[in-house]
C-alpha cells in the first residue's frame, strides 16, 4: 500500500532511496502518464496514447510500456532499456501534495525503494537537501506544472473531435494474442483536414506540433511487439 507522508529532514534525515528501476519497486507498469514538455524526448522511444482518467474521464497522455496488464517491456531485469525515462518514473517514490496553503514534497514511506542502507541520501549531515533530492524536487515541480497543460491539450483535441478510440489486436510469435482497450489516439485524417481558426488555434497553443509528434510516436508499437517477441523467445 502507498503511504505518502510529508518529507522533512528531522524524521527522514537518514533515509536513502534506491534509484534504479526494478519490478520489486513496482516499476512493472503497462502505461505511465506524461507531460507535454517530455514529448520531444518521448517520441524517440515510446508510443504516446491518451487514456481516460478513471476519476474524471478526462483525456491524459501517457506512454505505453507493455502489451497487457502490469507488463513493462522497457524494464529488463533491473535496467531501463531506453535513453530517456519518463518523469513519472523518475519521481518515484515522491509526490507533491497540497499541504495547508501551499504544497509539500511527500514520500511513500512504505515503498521498497526506501531504506537506511542503500541508495541516494536525501539530506546532508547539516540537514540540507542533497543534489539528488534537489533533482527530484525539480522533477516534481515540472510534473505539477505540466499536468494541467497535458489535460488542456487532451481537452482541446477532444473539443475539435480529433481523438478516436483504438483497440490494439496483436499476435505474437508463439501465436498468443492480446487485445488492448481503453487507448485513444489522434485521427490523422481529421488532423490533416483541420483548417481555418481551429488550425491556427491549435498551432498558437503549441498543440499542433505535439499532435504530430504523438502520431509519429505510434511507430513504437511495432517496437513493443518486437520486444515482447524477444521476451517470449527467451532473448533479452
Amino acid at each position: 500500500m502507498v503511504n505518502q507522508v510529508v518529507l522533512n529532514h528531522e524524521t527522514h534525515g537518514d533515509l536513502r532511496i534506491a534509484t534504479y528501476p526494478s519490478p520489486r519497486f513496482g516499476d512493472d507498469i503497462g502505461m505511465v502518464g506524461v507531460i507535454l514538455r517530455e514529448y520531444q524526448r518521448l517520441v524517440a522511444h515510446y508510443p504516446i496514447f491518451f487514456r481516460k482518467n478513471s476519476e474524471n474521464g478526462r483525456f491524459e497522455p501517457g506512454v505505453l510500456l507493455g502489451l497487457g496488464g502490469a507488463e513493462n517491456l522497457y524494464l529488463i531485469d533491473e535496467r531501463w532499456d531506453a535513453a530517456y525515462v519518463p518523469l513519472h518514473v523518475q519521481r518515484q517514490p515522491f509526490l507533491i501534495a497540497p499541504v495547508g496553503e501551499g504544497h509539500a514534497v511527500t514520500i511513500d514511506i512504505d515503498s521498497p525503494r526506501v531504506s537506511k542502507e542503500n541508495g541516494e541520501a536525501l539530506f546532508a549531515a547539516d540537514g540540507r537537501a542533497t543534489d539528488y533530492l534537489k533533482k527530484v524536487t525539480s522533477v516534481l515541480k515540472e510534473l505539477a506544472e505540466g499536468t494541467s497543460a497535458a489535460y488542456a491539450y487532451g481537452a482541446k483535441l477532444a473539443e475539435f473531435e480529433l481523438i478516436e478510440s483504438v483497440r490494439l489486436d496483436v499476435q505474437f510469435v508463439d501465436h498468443s494474442e492480446v487485445k488492448l482497450e481503453g487507448l485513444y489516439t489522434i485521427n490523422a485524417d481529421k488532423l490533416q483536414a483541420l483548417a481555418g481558426e481551429k488550425l491556427i488555434e491549435l498551432r498558437d497553443l503549441g498543440f499542433l506540433q505535439l499532435a504530430y509528434f504523438q502520431l509519429a510516436s505510434l511507430g513504437h508499437v511495432a517496437g513493443l511487439v518486437a520486444r515482447k517477441n524477444r521476451r517470449i523467445s527467451g532473448l533479452k
Partner: protein
C-alpha cells in the same frame, strides 16, 4: 399537384413532441427541407413525460445534441427500468429492467428458471441489471463515452427544460424557424391538403407537410380533420393524475435509477428522481376513489416531505386514455399527445412521439404520391403500437391478485382486449417467446412481457411437453449472469456520484 415536392415541413406545437419532431427532421434533411415550428405563446406545455425508453439515446444522438449538455440542462438522471411495488399482492416488488434476458436471441431461459429458480426472481436470474438498480448504481462510468452504456439505460428528465433545450439547439444549430403565434385558421386546397396556417398578427405559414404536435388540443388531426378519438377507458381505468414535486430529504439522498411505481387502492404512484428534486404523482380512477383520498394516499407515501401538501400544491391532470383512429391525413401527421395518450405506467408517451417522428424523418415523402403510401403505413404502424401498449399496460392489472374494487374490476374479462386474452391463454401452456408478437420491431419486446408476467407470479405449465432440452447451456447462462452481477455492480458508480461528475467534467464524445 401530384408531383408536389416536400420542401417545407411545418410543426405546430412547442412541447416535447414538437421539438423532437422538428429536431429529427431538420437533422436528417438539413439543407434540403425547411423546418418551421409554430408555438403558441399562450399554451403551457403539458410535460407529463418524465420517463423515457432507451430509444431516446439514439434520438438525441441523431438530433446531434451532446449527452452532457442534455443531462446538465434538463436535470436528467438515468433510468434502467421500472420497479413495481405492491402490484401483485400489496406486499411484493419486482423489476422490469431495460436489458434483455441473457442470451435472449438464442435461448428462452424462462422454463429453466421456473423449474429451478435457485431462490432468485426471474429478472435476477436472467439479468444482472436489477442488482444495479437495487443499489442505486449508474448505468455507466465517467469514462464511458456519451450515449454508450455499460447497462442499457434511458433518462428521467424535466419535460419543461427538455423542450427548451431542444428548442435552443434546433434554432441555433439546425436552422429551424421558430414562430411564436397562435394558429387561428387552417386553409386547405380542394383536395383537402393543408396549404397554410393563418396566425394571429403574422403572415400565413405555408408548407408541404404539417405535423400536429398541439397536445390534447389536436388542432389539425382532431379539430380540422375531425378524426375520431378512440377511447380505451373501458380497458384502462385511470382517468386522473395528481402531480407534485418534492425536494430530496438531503443533498446526499440516493437518486434511484429506476422509475418506481407503487400500487394504490385505485391506481398507483410514480416516483421519479431528478437531480434537484423528485417528481411524484398519483394516478387513479375517479370511479374508485376521490381526489381527497388520492391526495391523502400520495401524502402518506411521500412521508414527512409531503406532510404539508395541500390541494393547491399538486397539479391535477385529467387523463383520457386513447388514441386517434388515424394519425396521418392528407399532408398532416400527428405526433405526441395529439396522436394519443395512455396512463404513464410504462412511460410510453415520449417513446411514441420519438418513434412517430423518426418514422416521418426516415420516410419523409418526397412528393404527394409517395405521401399517400407513407401515410397508410404510418397509420397502420401507429395504431398497432397503441394497441400493443394498451395490451401491455393491461397485463400489469390482470395479473394482480389485489382485492380492492378497482383491481377486481380490472380483471373483469369484459375489460381485457382479445389480443391480450390470447397471449394469456397461450402462456398458460407455452412460455412467452419471440414469435408471440407480430412485428420484428415491437415497442415492447416479448422480454418485457416476460419480466412482467413472471414478475407478477405468472407461471406456465407445459404439461408433458419437454421445454428444457439443454440444461448445461442454461446453467452456464445463469452462472454468467451471477458472475456479471458481481463484476458489473462492483464497477459501476453510485448514480448521484456519477451525476455530480457529469456536472463537473462531462462525458467524452468518444
Amino acid at each position: 399537384m401530384m408531383e408536389r415536392v416536400t420542401r417545407s415541413v411545418v410543426v405546430v406545437g412547442g412541447g416535447t413532441a414538437g421539438w423532437l419532431t422538428a429536431g429529427l427532421i431538420a437533422a436528417r434533411h438539413r439543407g434540403q427541407v425547411k423546418v418551421t415550428l409554430i408555438e403558441s405563446p399562450n399554451v403551457k406545455i403539458v410535460g407529463v413525460g418524465e420517463g423515457t425508453w432507451p430509444t431516446i439515446r439514439t434520438t438525441l444522438k441523431r438530433i446531434g445534441v451532446s449527452e452532457t449538455d442534455f443531462l446538465r440542462i434538463c436535470d436528467a438522471t438515468f433510468k434502467q427500468g421500472s420497479e413495481f411495488v405492491g402490484w401483485t399482492t400489496g406486499d411484493d416488488r419486482y423489476y422490469h429492467p431495460f436489458m434483455l434476458p441473457k442470451a435472449y436471441d438464442a435461448i428462452n431461459l424462462a422454463p429453466y428458471w421456473q423449474a429451478d429458480p435457485q431462490g432468485l426472481s426471474f429478472a435476477d436470474a436472467v439479468c444482472y441489471q436489477p442488482a444495479a438498480c437495487a443499489q442505486n448504481l449508474a448505468p455507466k462510468q465517467i469514462t464511458t463515452p456519451e450515449y454508450q452504456a455499460v447497462t442499457n439505460y434511458a433518462y428521467h428528465l424535466d419535460a419543461g427544460k427538455f423542450a427548451g433545450f431542444l428548442r435552443d439547439y434546433c434554432v441555433e444549430k439546425l436552422d429551424v424557424s421558430h414562430i411564436l403565434a397562435d394558429v387561428t385558421e387552417v386553409e386547405a386546397d380542394a383536395g383537402g391538403y393543408i396549404t397554410h396556417l393563418r396566425t394571429a398578427g403574422r403572415e400565413p405559414v405555408a408548407g408541404d407537410l404539417f405535423i400536429d404536435c398541439t397536445g390534447f388540443l389536436s388542432l389539425l388531426i382532431g379539430r380540422h380533420y375531425g378524426v375520431p378519438f378512440n377511447s380505451v377507458s373501458d380497458r384502462l381505468f385511470i382517468d386522473t393524475a395528481l402531480a407534485v414535486q418534492v425536494p430530496y430529504e438531503n443533498e446526499n439522498a440516493p437518486i434511484a435509477s429506476v422509475t418506481r411505481s407503487i400500487a394504490q387502492r385505485a391506481g398507483w404512484i410514480w416516483d421519479v428522481g431528478l437531480t434537484e428534486r423528485r417528481g411524484l404523482g398519483h394516478v387513479y380512477s375517479s370511479r374508485f376513489t376521490t381526489d381527497d383520498e388520492a391526495l391523502a394516499d400520495l401524502k402518506a407515501y411521500i412521508g414527512p416531505q409531503g406532510a404539508a401538501l395541500t390541494r393547491d400544491d399538486v397539479r391535477k391532470i385529467p387523463i383520457n386514455s386513447g388514441y386517434r383512429e388515424i394519425t396521418w391525413v392528407k399532408n398532416c401527421a400527428a405526433v405526441g399527445l395529439s396522436s394519443g395518450f395512455v396512463e404513464p405506467l410504462e412511460a410510453s408517451s415520449i417513446v411514441m412521439a420519438e418513434l412517430s417522428a423518426q418514422m416521418i424523418a426516415d420516410q419523409l415523402p418526397v412528393n404527394r404520391a409517395a405521401m399517400a403510401v407513407v401515410a397508410r403505413r404510418f397509420n397502420e404502424t401507429v395504431r398497432y403500437r397503441w394497441e400493443r401498449i394498451v395490451d401491455f399496460l393491461k397485463l400489469h392489472y390482470v395479473l394482480s391478485a389485489r382485492d380492492e374494487a378497482f383491481w377486481v374490476a380490472n380483471r373483469d374479462p369484459q375489460t381485457i382486449p382479445e389480443s391480450l386474452k390470447d397471449l394469456l391463454t397461450l402462456w398458460q401452456s407455452r412460455f412467452p417467446w419471440h414469435d408471440d408478437l407480430d412485428r420484428r420491431e415491437e415497442l415492447f419486446p416479448t422480454a418485457s412481457f416476460q419480466y412482467v408476467y413472471f414478475g407478477m407470479g405468472g407461471r406456465t405449465d407445459s404439461g408433458p411437453f419437454p421445454v428444457t432440452p439443454d440444461w448445461p447451456a442454461a446453467q452456464g447462462h445463469f452462472r454468467d449472469v451471477a458472475r456479471a452481477r458481481q463484476a458489473v455492480t462492483g464497477q459501476l458508480p453510485d448514480t448521484r456520484a456519477l451525476l455530480e461528475k457529469v456536472a463537473r467534467f462531462g462525458f467524452q464524445k468518444v
